[in-house]
Symmetry: C2
């Protein structure tokens, strides 16, 4: 039986979200997997209760999936998209196979340094608001990094940031291959 993979990510916010979803599910198909892309769910987006409906459909899709591939590329700030991260936590807790990638291979602390003034105090990096910047050399918050390490496979990163971080699917395809390998070994 084919493995169902939930395709989480801020891809749904792209102007060509549907097209990206088609490309991702096609890559899954080539590797013998079934990709479940949130936008596949027809939801009446004009309805008053649209957002609740989207939530319920996404949750049902996650419950049906055997694995998640989370696009953790930084979104509207130095870290990953909150909706995607929520879904990664949800799937980890359900014991699903957790995979993720980010198309920005920079270390989190370096990314924060680029977007805001960071100072060093008592050996800690402090941002402009006085909050400590996590500095373990990881790509993003340690909860996601180690969730992947322990509940799936380490975060997949490209060697270099691709020209189009929202449409380059090379790191995504590595995750698909990892999921497919897991399936054939199970």
């Amino acid at each position: 039986m084919a493995m169902n993979v939930y395709l989480a990510g801020p891809d749904v916010f792209l102007p060509d979200a549907l097209q990206v979803g088609r490309q991702k599910t096609e890559i899954c198909r080539r590797h013998g997997l079934i990709g479940l892309y949130p936008l596949d769910n027809v939801v009446d987006r004009t309805a008053t209760e649209a957002s609740l409906q989207i939530f319920k459909v996404n949750e049902a899709m996650m419950d049906r999936a055997d694995a998640i591939i989370a696009n953790l590329t930084p979104f509207r700030g130095p870290g990953a998209d909150a909706g995607t991260v929520y879904e990664l936590g949800y799937m980890a807790a359900r014991g699903k196979f957790c995979l993720g990638y980010s198309n920005d291979p920079a270390v989190y602390a370096d990314r924060v340094r680029r977007s805001t003034k960071v100072t060093v105090r008592s050996g800690l990096l402090i941002d402009a608001d006085g909050l400590t910047v996590e500095d373990f050399g990881h790509n993003d918050n340690l909860m996601m990094i180690h969730a992947l390490d322990l509940h799936g496979a380490p975060l997949v990163l490209p060697h270099e940031k691709p020209a189009d971080i929202w449409h380059d699917l090379a790191a995504f395809e590595v995750c698909v291959a990892l999921a497919a390998a897991r399936l054939t070994s199970a």
Copy 2:
């Protein structure tokens, strides 16, 4: 038996993180609950494997808790802290009682408007990178908003943004009271 509540939030990044943790656990105690604050876990932060150790200790704490109170106050961008959001997803999936608050009551789309140039195209809000801005009138991403609605209680917001968003604990205490009410009704 007292309810164990996992106290998630970017509070751990505050310069006075320990002190805030003490205040939060004391508020829990006054309401008859046991607050589990991540920094309560003594971890040797100089160790090479420190971040993995922190992850494991946090996960064990979550597994031990009956509920989560997530501080979803915007952190280093227009949305909540990724580590906190991961934990909310994890707890929702484990069927724990999910509560959250944000000390910035503004609507998410308005917060994005303040931090970046937003345009309207075909009735959708589009940010400077060309990505759609979720615009359902919620305080943050719909996955967190409805996770709280369906797995606990609606997001708690102050009427007005407090002067010190990182130290005002009024909205936090409302969450504690909700958790305590749940305990006595169980």
